[in-house]
């Protein structure tokens, strides 16, 4: 089944995957495993579980390749499978706390911290401590904001691809991304403002 939206090289890879070509499977793993792992790690917050999710997602993908219709890229399709695999696992681990179909309650964070910290020297931003703080802050985003943030900002999927992966509308992706950014800004402002204060 030809898919007009796909690049010829990707179309050829998919045809080989459909034919059960092991080298094509290995190529697919080689190209997409890191991205799938990042998504899984953002969701699971545990390296071993994230590895399991990647393995499970790739196995499911190879089994279901005949049903891939080419309306999205292979990457978006794989991300959606990994996202669903991670979600299933989270539901198994914490069946009560995973929100399913709830209204979007991750409210916009009105800016409270209004000190300007952009003026700090670059080395303050590049320090290991600053990087660790940013990583912690991303980890503290609510699951709904974090998944949009990870796909849209870290994996650089388009708004449309992110929406397709998560099964939400593009408007929801935009709102959640904005809320995630505002929240991170507030969190980093709390951290960097102390350095500004120390300099004054």
């Amino acid at each position: 089944m030809p898919a007009p939206n796909l690049e010829p090289a990707e179309q050829a890879l998919i045809e080989r995957l459909r034919a059960g070509d092991k080298a094509a499977c290995a190529q697919c793993v080689d190209e997409h495993a890191d991205g799938l792992y990042r998504i899984a790690l953002r969701m699971m917050r545990n390296e071993a579980e994230a590895e399991d999710v990647v393995q499970e997602a790739l196995l499911s993908a190879f089994r279901a390749i005949q049903s891939f219709d080419g309306r999205s890229s292979l990457k978006t399709w794989l991300y959606r499978i990994a996202y669903n695999a991670a979600l299933m696992r989270l539901r198994r681990n914490e069946p009560v706390t995973v929100p399913v179909g709830e209204p979007d309650d991750d409210a916009e964070t009105p800016p409270v911290e209004l000190r300007d910290w952009c003026c700090l020297p670059e080395e303050e931003f590049e320090s290991a401590a600053a990087r660790a703080e940013l990583e912690r802050a991303i980890g503290e985003l609510s699951p709904r904001l974090r998944e949009v943030f990870a796909l849209r900002e870290l994996e650089e999927l388009s708004t449309e691809e992110t929406a397709r992966t998560l099964g939400v509308t593009e408007a929801v992706v935009k709102v959640r991304l904005h809320r995630a950014r505002l929240w991170l800004r507030e969190r980093l402002a709390g951290y960097f403002s102390e350095f500004v204060q120390a300099r004054n």
């Binding site: 495993a33 393995q55 931003f125 991170l184 800004r185």
Partner: protein, 82 residues
Amino acid sequence: MAHDCKHLLGELSAYIDGDAAPQICAEIERHLANCADCRVVVDTLRKTVELYRVQPAVRLTGEARNRLFAALRLDDFRPRGE
């Protein structure tokens, strides 16, 4: 935050990404010219985006990659240079 600031807050991501409609951009820029607090929010929001975009991407370790290829029984088919 004043009412005007809150009204524009939801548009700031689109604004810093260059995706806001021209009339919204003009409205934001008029507001920024007179609101020091919002200028700080826009500048620090932009800086926040810049900071996480330059973070090095996490990758599977070599061992994890080996485990993955082995679990999928694709060891013998790995692309050259692996």
